[in-house]
Amino acid sequence: MIIAWTFDAILAIIVLAVAGWTIAARDTFAAVIGFVAYGLLLALVWVRLAAPDVALTEAAIGGGMTGVLLLVAVARLRAAQAAAAAETPGAALRLVAGGGCAVIAAALAASVLLLSDPAPTLAPAAAANLPQTGLGNPITGVLLAYRALDTLLEKVVLLLALLGVWSLAPDRLWGGLPGLKRHARGDDPLVFLARLLPPVGIVIGVYLLWVGADDPGGAFQGGAILAAMWILALMAGLIDAPPVSRRWLRLVLVAGPVVFFAIGLAGFPLAGAFLAYPEAYAKPLIIIIEVVLTLSIAAILGLLVAGPPERAPPPP
């Protein structure tokens, strides 16, 4: 077991070192690259913590989507970087801030180390009720059955965030196309990558959704990979983003939450409570919700990265 412990120690030290670098780096672009590496390493930590579902989410969203979002932003903000760096606070303030943060970290560490033993857990309850849902993955059970309300509201949060991003567009561009127009160049390896990767990526995304019922995976991870493939094709200029005022686009965006909500309401007459599933139909209902959710999540995540409309809508 000493080998396992050594592995974990190495991993923890590397994660902390990369995190420290992203804070200390002087160049913002370099710091963002550090953050992408940090996301990859964090996925390893989650595997070591026996949480492969979280590892998948972290790899796809924490490292991939957030990293790309920040990479695009830092490229556009490059002109303003030098001016901003000049406003770094003095050594005294940094020392005070560092001391305060160290105290907070130490207090957190102490409180985690002093947690009651044996630890309180809901694992037995989650495992005991899993057969009723027909699922094999307890995480999917928690997300879509036991705590389905959280998941439903999280979808609403995603939609609200997207509305917030869209409403940052100037009035004349409202309802227009997000992002700048890109032209595909035939000899660009990026175009080749954008033709090569999506077919594989889409299969992997659908695979993660499909196995999510019984093994690690699910709507979030699958949706995130689908969104990444869409963004890749967008970056290479192979496709263009649709105007955000398109009705079919709006329908895809709200389809997931609406279907989820409708099935939840149907729980009142059929199973006696909001978001309760009739026992015999629990698994098919959950799978229907997951499939529609995956589409909506992919569309929302992709449009969040694409940003607010920057080109005027085409004449109707």
Partner: protein
């Protein structure tokens, strides 16, 4: 066997992490991105080794996801890297 695989995973992790020193010294952003790319491939190898060592077969799926995401992030990096089509670049 499991112990050997875990040790190999630790070794690979340690080596590619040493490569991260390239993120520190650069000098160009391309060099930094190369270190991240090496970390991505190394991370995939570590995940595959972990999957075999601990019997957690889902780690292979994580490796698959990591492979897609690493290529995706590299593409975004190339789009954002400083270059002649970027007026605000000071050539390094």
């Amino acid at each position: 066997m499991a112990e050997f695989l875990l040790a190999a995973a630790g070794f690979v992790l340690l080596t590619v992490a040493l490569g991260l020193a390239r993120i520190l010294v650069g000098p160009a952003t391309v060099d930094r991105m190369m270190a991240a790319q090496l970390l991505g491939t190394g991370g995939i190898a570590v995940l595959l080794l972990l999957a075999a060592a601990t019997g957690l077969s889902a780690a292979v799926d994580v490796a698959l996801t990591l492979a897609v995401v690493a290529a995706f992030a590299s593409a975004a990096f190339v789009k954002g890297a400083p270059g002649p089509d970027d007026p605000a670049t000071d050539k390094a």
